[in-house]
Symmetry: C2
Subunit: 504 residues, 2 copies
């Protein structure tokens, strides 16, 4: 290998190795703060965590490191460069290019605005008063646009650059097309479901279940999908999440509601899906520091694959139904397997995204996307967002928020920026496509009902996880399925599944 | 203030503030490893923790810092030096003086020997084979002696310097005297107890209690003694411990055995006692970085004060008995308050220190002390330790280990050094002295039976905790009680309490 290339690669790897020690420590401290750190110690621990992150950040902002990255980026075509080293360099350059024109002063100003926006959002939601959040929301819009327009490489549409930050290569034109098809098919389908007259039993869903029993069920479910407890841990938090603390340390959390036992079940399968994506990364991607290059949409496709495509399927219910009767004694004595299947798939238009069902979920995303797009382009004015929000909920779902707390203020995301929400919906569309491919290659239903998750995960590893870090979403889905991205598989799936349940 | 003093103080404080950030992070990572870190991630996290500790250590080993400490130590008499700054300087100088002649190479060699000794001890205990550990034990003796003899300031007796490291100013002459008195009074007393014919009910002590119920009891007990949950956290580990992670973050752990509900109860009161000592430190001691200068014996005196003097007293049992019946439904239906009191104070000579009762505990320490002293002086040979151990157990307690696992190999301590064990026994003697003082000043029994722990802790804070960081144990106990250290209060207490229970 060329000596200069070698020297620069050495700089890059040594710097990242060292920075990663700080990030590893910061990751553990963050997890501790989410799980057990006492209230009185939070501020201090926050400061220590920030110190560690800054130490890591300083290393990758150092001239020596940046110069090495730039040199290597200028020699990407060098035949001697290992393909995964090249991927690392491309990824580092992308990160660099995004912030290279952002001065420390501007960065600090943006931080202050985001911090204030978060506090304003919390207060606004508490008092259900949009006017408390509105000034910050306007500022977040300004800095979000400023941030992307400062870049050397940018598109004509600032919002597309924001989307690109979360889902590389996906544009608002792509989303207009995909979401347009969704609305066209799902709105009439929802009408039919509502008109079907089908009554799904739900009385047992609110029966009281102890934390201990729910914990046993969560553990059983993680075991079932082959979450690796040797390389992960599991506890409770107010808001469930997954965190990749280190190569061999991918942790998940859940939350137990005494009168909603399926809530923790599906939350843990969802987080378990994220965790499997982390635990089953190719070893060489860890070695080359590109193990976290997959997009948010890809990640969400996997968590929702396990939660919905597998977890809410008939074969899965058939697998866990006997165990559920064992773990929750008496709870399901008068409930058939079919009744459980229908209950976890009930369709019910609602106001709160995080509590919505698989079918109506996409509408929640489309509404946010349409509003973001209109707000960024100037088509929608700051003061009109609550009304537009409520009108869209009424139009698409037939429900109207009584106040802004259950309307435009419900999600935290806009206190830091725009372009994130669509990844949630894209995830469903991606996994519908690769589920169909999987079905062509292995007998998914039989595998799931027999609990052979090693085989299922093996397919995911070889097809879905293998190249997620090195391809854009469009390249990746084509690589897995041989087809271009389309929402059709997802819409077909919903039509077939819910048509069946609701007898349409 | 003198400008040079000011400058050096600034160096000291700024360095310690920064080093403490690393130590804080390392503390959280350590706690995480003890509690939730997955097995597969332990090695990596151990490396990250070591990196952080080393970064902190480098700062306090830097020439700039050491020079500042030395300068200030040379100006301790300067009238302008704040008394607590002077205490900090003395403490830093003590630490410096202990290791100033220890070369990095020697230090590394010692580390390797201790690491190997620990592994050998684990293997030796597992196979109950003393010969596996013996060579390492000899080396630990050699390096322990070498370590203290390398120092500029040292006594004629190396073992006294080892004792001093854990309990400043306490010598083997002090211990010979105190333990001599113990043996003189406790051996005949134990004979009388054995001969008393008193039968204490213990059947209910092994009744099954769920983890959940034991957890509720642990929480109630911590609440009762006014452990501050806002500045602390509480979870489970194999071996219970307390850790002062930060000024406002003192965590405790416990362990639940299904058939020994009082085990977790007294373990949590013991750790809660340690934690109160941490949580009720004078604020100015935190500010001056001398909040952790108390000796091991002082710390153990406090944990054992809460565990034994309070926790196993009649007023405390009377306080918690009704609550125990509520938290453990049915468990104590046929058990009177007096029966519970007697059961938690049963005297039973046994082989394992960590499972021994309040009365016989001191013998376990005396045996280890006598053997350490003989081994260090050369009076006892390496190969004779198991036999000496067994003979002493037979002589003092009337029980003889069947193998070395329940004999000389039972404790980990000798894999890192000598002189630590006596602090456990000293703790009991200290708290007996200050308990008597406390009784003169406030109505302890009435306070405990009414649960007014704010008042009890207030006395501890003003008298026991206030100067622990700035006085030697002998100065400290004299400051609290007005009397010189003596084991008499402790022996009187045992005689009175156990004489009562066993009707002597």
């Amino acid at each position: 290998m060329n000596e200069i290339i070698e020297k620069n690669l050495k700089t890059v790897y040594e710097t990242l190795d060292k920075a990663n020690i700080y990030y590893h420590a910061a990751g553990v401290l963050n997890f501790d703060m989410e799980t057990i750190c006492p209230p009185g110690a939070m501020e201090k621990q926050g400061e220590t965590t920030a110190f560690l992150s800054t130490e890591g950040y300083k290393l990758i902002k150092s001239d020596e490191f940046v110069d090495a990255v730039l040199y290597l980026h200028g020699h990407l075509d060098d035949a001697e460069l290992d393909p995964l080293d090249a991927e690392l360099v491309k990824s580092l350059y992308r990160d660099y290019a995004k912030i290279k024109n952002l001065t420390p002063e501007l960065n600090h100003e943006f931080d202050l605005i985001r911090n204030k926006a978060y506090i304003d959002w919390v207060n606004a939601k508490q008092s259900s008063d949009y006017s408390v959040f509105a000034p910050s929301l306007e500022k977040i819009k300004e800095i979000s646009i400023k941030e992307v327009t400062l870049r050397d490489e940018k598109s004509d549409v600032p919002y597309d650059d924001m989307l690109d930050d979360y889902e590389r290569g996906v544009t608002s034109a792509d989303l207009d097309e995909a979401f347009g098809q969704c609305k066209e098919r799902l709105i009439p389908l929802l009408e039919k479901i509502k008109a079907s007259g089908k009554v799904i039993r739900r009385d047992f869903m609110s029966r009281t279940v102890s934390d201990e029993a729910q914990k046993n069920m969560a553990k059983y479910l993680l075991d079932t999908i082959r979450y690796d407890f040797n390389r992960g841990a599991f506890t409770t938090t107010e808001h469930p999440f997954t965190t990749d603390i280190a190569r061999d340390d991918v942790r998940v959390t859940t939350h137990y509601y005494p009168n909603s036992f399926t809530s923790s079940m599906y939350s843990i399968i969802h987080e378990g899906g994220h965790a499997l994506f982390g635990q089953l990364q190719p070893a060489e991607h860890h070695d080359h520091h590109i193990d976290n290059e997959m997009t948010m949409g890809m990640h969400e496709s996997v968590s929702r694959f396990y939660e919905n495509r597998i977890g809410r399927s008939r074969p899965f219910i058939s697998l866990i139904y006997p165990k559920a009767k064992e773990i929750f004694p008496g709870l399901l004595d008068d409930v058939t397997e079919e009744e459980l299947y229908e209950a976890v798939n009930i369709v019910e238009p609602s106001l709160i995204r995080t509590e919505s069902d698989e079918f109506t979920y996409t509408f929640h995303i489309i509404i946010r996307y349409e509003i973001e797009r209109m707000f960024m382009s100037g088509e929608a004015k700051l003061e009109d967002l609550p009304r537009i929000w409520n009108d869209k909920y009424e139009k698409y779902l037939g429900v109207r928020p009584a106040d802004d707390k259950e309307g435009v203020l419900q999600d935290v995301h806009w206190s830091f920026g725009f372009g994130y929400f669509p990844t949630y919906a894209l995830g469903n569309m991606y996994n519908a496509m690769y589920f169909n491919r999987m079905k062509d290659e292995i007998p998914v239903d039989a595998i799931v009902s027999s609990g052979d998750f090693d085989r299922l995960n093996g397919w995911m590893k070889d097809n879905v996880f293998a190249k997620a870090n090195i391809l854009t979403p469009k390249e990746w889905i084509k690589d897995i399925t041989g087809r271009d991205f389309t929402p059709v598989d997802f819409l077909d799936y919903l039509e077939e599944k819910y048509g069946g349940i609701y007898g349409l």
